[in-house]
Amino acid sequence: MEHYNMNLTLKIWRQKDAKAKGGFETYQVKNISSEMSFLEMIDVLNEELITEGKDPIAFDHDCREGICGSCSMYINGKPHGPWKATTVCQLHMRAFKDGETVVVEPWRANAFPVVKDLVVDRSAFDRIVQAGGYISVNTGNAVDGNAIPVDKDKADKSFAAAACIACGACVAACKNSSAMLFVSAKVSHLALLPQGQPERKSRAINMVAQMDKEGFGSCTNIGACEATCPKEIRLTNIARLNAEYLSAALTIDREN
């Protein structure tokens, strides 16, 4: 792989806090190595800003290996930037050319209010999980791990859905700010396993209800979420959620 250095113009969203009105600021960065990650490039800029006595750019990041789901920014209008199936922290600068202008923004969705600069509040996702994204089993109640065989195909599909990192890119990519891909991944993860059966109906209904309450939009089957998802969560999960929800809504026992 040929390495090269580049100079870039960055237009980055700055916003002091949740209440402030934000705006773009323009920065120049020089001699950026193509081997750096995108976040390391922002580290370089932040070091310069600190040296100049200015406030560095606030952004969420932690593991920097594409699994914690912290990082969350649009790069040139795309959540997580130009590479397929990649989080911002795994995006490397060889994706860019010398002299390019790069626009960086926080997730845009009513349910994800901006906290500062590129940092947003995604606690809505936690609340959706609280509504039913679990199997109610207290510690110590479990039978032997091999007591219930699980169809390998279903276990694999369940895992593929459970690989969601809750970064919120699906919401950010959607013109309706829908959280259907996230919710469907969790519902699918648990509905595909025998252990998830007892709460299957209430889970689908309660998680969807919470999703609506949080102010996420509706799904209109565009598929931008799937195209953007860094973990390649499939759209078929949304189809499964629709089926789960419909069947639950028709058959759940509401007597009391």
Partner: protein, 657 residues
């Protein structure tokens, strides 16, 4: 001498007897007792969920925006359990034995045996929660091998086992939050431990969004804050992983044990330049199928593909025929360093060795051809079928490698080099996981207890979950049963007011330095000192130099650090400054500890103490103890020893040959 308070009895009955006799807290009293938990990784989340289920009132804190982002999520390879599902000779005793041996006879028998016992329940619990472990076609759980063992006892979910286990614990935690048993404080950092009459009674935490300080009281505090590998600046830890919470408790009386025991993981993607902010691990599971080699010729600049088979040195297979590429991490890391230092390294930096899948791809390809009955498969066809198999097993790791390096590991061997990964040292705890401060417990990587001087692969996830799901729910009751007579502590108690003032003063001092140098550059300098002088190989002279350099760095930090922004707002630089200040102090203690341990054991390699073949040379006569350090004043620590008694396992020279 410190007493670990391991109950009397034969090793395989101790834990059962303990559970049968420990004190209990009745449900009505549990509802009145608040427990504070710091950190929501595997240990913290599993403890918070389990204690919430029992009826305690739990307050859990994490610095991330959600508990699901704790760094346990990044663990790749797997979790060990003595299930013996493979019928290959595994047992609780063998897992116990492998862990003690793997730890180079510097771990406590009682704790490790308990760990091996509860390992089987962890798998059951996780399956019940819906953790989608890998399975065979018959629907049963799949296993693989990991370093330092000769059985297949590792359960896994592709290369994302930590993620799946953490999501299981996180979901259990979220359920308890929904039920009102746990209150979650995201984006909060613990900045002080509050003690009253020597007992842990609460914490001072900073809300990282508003910058406000908060007082929280409880009947016990559980430190589940992870390891301190970021003292080296570059490590496989998350950017935010830090020692601050643990360090605050250390300065309030909790002993810090074996700080110099750090694990350098052999298979990480090498450093590419000065801009590097963190290192990425390539799972140890890759050593199951990959072969590690360097050229036989020094300073060989040919491409890997141009080096013929007979000119490759598969040095692990050569030096350790019995375990080959599956030797434990400390052994594999040192062997890589030895080859690179001797001039056999590869890549532009010469600080790397090859991890090659060429053989494995061919082998799997041939198996596939056999399965499909293709007798005359072409070489190309075999390779393409083999790649598919490798992709299914390790696809996400190979993709990650390609994203970072821009090279395709299906075609060119991966370049790897050791990197700081895990810290075996941590808060000293007794059998009940209680630190030297009554009411203060430590779980998971934050404590020191189970891995001795070297941790075996797939054992960290096991320990974190063992502590949280199956140990603390019992042991904490034994303490709290005697506390029910005491009323809850008011946060207006003078001890809380004084602790808050200390935190305020420290923050204001940091902000008012207004120097010229960024926090990051201090952290980098600390990391370089630690890596060069307290890293994979250590010697007395280097350690002494390091101590002097770290002291100088500390002075410079406190007179020249520049923190932009204000206190009462989200200020990541301020957060980082507090953490780096603590790392600097810890770095000094690590060097002091490494200096006093005049032997080599596990991850601690003193150049003065090695065999003629360059293997670690222990000194059981003089160093078979846990070094637990008591903080007395700046630069002043008192060493306390806990003698390690081996009643079941007989320590021998650790051999993987």
């Amino acid at each position: 001498m410190l007493d670990a308070k391991i109950p009397e009895g034969t090793l395989d009955h101790v834990w059962t007897d303990y559970k049968g006799h420990c004190k209990l807290v009745n449900p009505a009293n549990k509802r009145k007792m608040e427990i504070i938990i710091i950190g929501t990784g595997l240990a913290g989340a599993s403890a918070a969920a389990s204690l919430g289920e029992l009826g305690y009132k739990v307050k859990a804190f994490c610095y991330q925006d959600s508990p699901r982002r704790a760094h346990s999520i990044a663990a790749q390879g797997g979790i060990n359990a003595a299930k013996n599902y493979q019928n290959d000779g595994d047992s609780v005793f063998r897992l116990f034995y492998d862990t003690i041996k793997g730890g180079d006879y510097r771990a406590r028998e009682g704790n490790v045996h308990r760990l091996a016992e509860v390992s089987v329940s962890i798998i059951d619990q996780c399956v019940a929660q819906g953790v989608p472990f890998a399975r065979e076609y018959g629907g049963l759980l799949s296993n693989r091998s990991f370093g330092g063992t000769q059985v297949q006892r590792t359960f896994y979910a592709a290369g994302q086992t930590g993620q799946q286990l953490l999501i299981g614990a996180y979901q259990a935690l979220e359920r308890q939050i929904a039920l009102g048993n746990v209150k979650m404080y995201n984006r909060h950092e613990m900045l002080e431990l509050v003690t009253i009459d020597g007992k842990a009674k609460g914490i001072i935490a900073r809300n990282l969004v508003s910058g406000e300080l908060e007082r929280h009281s409880g009947y016990a505090v559980l430190l589940c804050s992870g390891g301190y590998g970021n003292v080296f600046y570059l490590s496989t830890n998350a950017m935010g992983s830090n020692v601050t919470a643990a360090w605050k408790t250390h300065k309030k009386g909790a002993y810090f044990a074996n700080p110099c025991y750090t694990q350098i993981h052999p298979t990480c993607i090498p450093v590419s330049g000065d801009h590097q902010s963190k290192l990425t691990l390539m799972s140890e599971s890759l050593r199951n199928d990959g072969r590690i080699w360097v050229p036989k010729k020094q300073n060989d600049t040919r491409k890997a593909s141009e080096i013929p088979e007979e000119e490759r040195d598969y040095y692990l297979e050569r030096r350790y025929p019995a375990f080959g590429n599956l030797v434990p991490r400390d052994v594999a890391s040192r062997a890589a360093k030895e080859r690179c230092d001797a001039g056999f390294g590869v890549g532009t930096s010469r600080q790397a060795v090859y991890l090659d899948y060429g053989n494995a791809i061919e082998r799997y390809g041939q198996i596939e051809a056999g399965k499909k009955g293709i007798a005359d498969a072409s070489a190309e066809n075999i390779i393409s079928m083999g790649r598919e198999v490798v992709k299914e097993k390790y696809g996400n790791l190979f993709d990650m490698y390609e994203k970072i390096t821009g090279e395709n590991p299906y075609e060119i061997p991966m370049r790897i080099y050791p990197a700081v990964h895990y810290t075996m040292g941590g808060m000293w705890v007794d059998y009940e996981l209680q630190t030297t401060v009554p009411g203060l417990y430590s779980l998971g990587e934050a404590n020191f207890s189970d891995h001795g001087a070297n941790r075996l692969g797939a054992s960290a996830l096991m320990q974190g979950l063992a502590d949280g799901y199956f140990v603390i729910p019992y042991t904490i009751g034994n303490f709290l049963a005697d506390e029910i007579r005491n009323p809850p502590t008011s946060v207006d108690h003078p001890a809380f007011i004084a602790a808050q003032k200390d935190v305020e003063d420290r923050i204001n001092t940091l902000m008012n330095i207004k120097g010229k140098t960024s926090v990051e550059s201090f952290h980098k300098r600390l990391g370089k000192i630690m890596w060069d002088k307290c890293g994979m190989a250590r010697n007395a002279q280097g350690l002494q130099e390091a101590i002097t350099e770290i002291r100088r760095l500390k002075e410079e930090f406190w007179s020249d650090v520049r923190i932009p922004g204000a206190v009462n707002e989200m200020n990541f630089e301020l957060d980082k400054a507090g953490r780096v200040a603590d790392f600097i102090e810890l770095g000094e203690l690590m060097c002091i500890d490494a200096l006093q341990r005049e032997e080599s054991c596990g991850g601690h390699f003193r150049e003065e103490h090695q065999t003629e073949e360059g293997e670690a040379l222990r000194d059981d006569e003089n160093f078979m103890y846990v070094a637990a350090w008591e903080y007395r004043a700046d630069h002043d620590w008192q060493l306390h020893k806990e003698e390690l008694k081996y009643e079941v396992v007989k320590p021998t020279a650790r051999s993987y040959k």
